[in-house]
Assembly symmetry: C2
Homo-oligomer: 234 residues x 2
């Protein structure tokens, strides 16, 4: 068993309001793991042996279709839990998670979940809030996929990333998030070609600029207007 | 306060394994309400005063976009809970719910939720399972919307309805579910025109037949093959 300190958990929203004793009880069952970028943490359909919390770095959760297409479901960032199959009454993982950057994660055996929530009911409330948020995000994406043309979906995806991982700099909002155009295409259900074409147009209009390591939204307001259908994406 | 009997809850999966005392505690806070078809139960953004359980009938949960397009998120059938804003830490409803048929529902004030789960922790586990299932359904729809052409999405939607509300009859699987072509279009993110064109083709091929009140899948296996991309939808 690991010798981890409860202070690891104290700053995280998931554990807000827990007593020192509760935090020590929760951390006692955890182990740490470091993942190299690209490593698979768990696979869709695999037995849900553990559940996880990202301490540092970023996971990418994907679903693979029967045709072999990969759809990006979401990123899991520091402070978020994932692989909660046990909490939702499943025995297998419903999707695949890969390290999108080098990651430091905590893991707990799924079998500990019932005992953890019995002793610390706030964990269950926290997990439910996380599920609720993800469900809402998913419904928003369904709505966008169903009704919006691709420029608006891309502008929405970028705006969400800016909210999740952006910081204000002199030239606009900087997303320090190595996201590829292929990943953006998987997020919004279109092709790499289409994403490249739209983003090249936006770069030419100086709405944004990007390379492999970062993305700078030079005109976040215009992108938001495109997302909301109040400005042309072309 | 209502004088409802705990036996109303006993057959429902949400309450499986609850003691008679727990059932009585849960029902004590509930009221019944009958909804005429088309009535709005709650509206997106409205204060989440109550949460609900459908005893009979069927609700339709929709999101309305800023352009006024309506996207069907899901049907809520007998035995299912909805409007659980309180459980996921929200104060407003994240979507709009309408009676898709005449409905009999139970409602509880949202303010009772914390006390209910404290006394009956199994309620929280049940709500979490329900959220997990919905999240999985949502991810499946995102995957379909992102990667499948419209025939496959329609075949998938029909196959899911058959699983949810179909029964085997001599001629195939009968879906006793008044679902309109417009609703199918909202479920899969396409136009009424496209759904009508595809379904007319399938009727001509004798894969299905339908009117306003029911839908008969005459060749469920072929529809499943179309859904899985192993048969042509044209």
């Amino acid at each position: 068993m690991s010798r981890l300190d409860a202070s690891l958990l104290r700053p995280l929203a998931q554990f807000r309001g827990l007593s020192e004793e509760d935090l020590r009880f929760v951390i006692a069952g955890a182990s740490t793991r470091r993942l190299v970028k690209g490593t698979t943490l768990f696979e869709e359909g695999g037995e849900a042996v553990d559940f996880f919390l990202v301490l540092d770095g970023r996971l990418k959760v994907v679903k693979i279709t029967s045709d072999g297409d990969q759809v990006l479901i979401r990123f899991v960032v520091a402070g978020e839990i994932c692989g909660m199959a046990a909490a939702i009454g499943r025995t297998t993982y419903p999707a695949t998670a890969l390290a999108a950057s080098e990651c430091l994660i905590l893991s707990w055996p799924s079998a500990l979940w019932p005992g953890l929530v019995e002793k610390v009911p706030a964990l269950s409330a926290g997990a439910m809030r996380a599920l609720g948020q993800r469900l809402e995000e998913a419904h928003t994406r369904i709505t966008e996929l169903s009704t919006e043309e691709v420029q608006r979906r891309l502008a929405h995806a970028l705006t969400r990333l800016a909210g999740q991982a952006g910081r204000k700099v002199d030239q606009g909002i900087l997303i320090d998030f190595a996201i590829t155009r292929q990943e953006l295409a998987e997020m919004i259900g279109t092709t790499l070609h289409t994403v490249s074409r739209i983003m090249s147009g936006w770069e030419a209009r100086r709405l944004l600029e990007g390379d492999r390591q970062h993305l700078l939204m030079r005109d976040p307001h215009k992108l938001l207007m495109i997302a909301e259908g109040n400005a042309s994406g072309d």
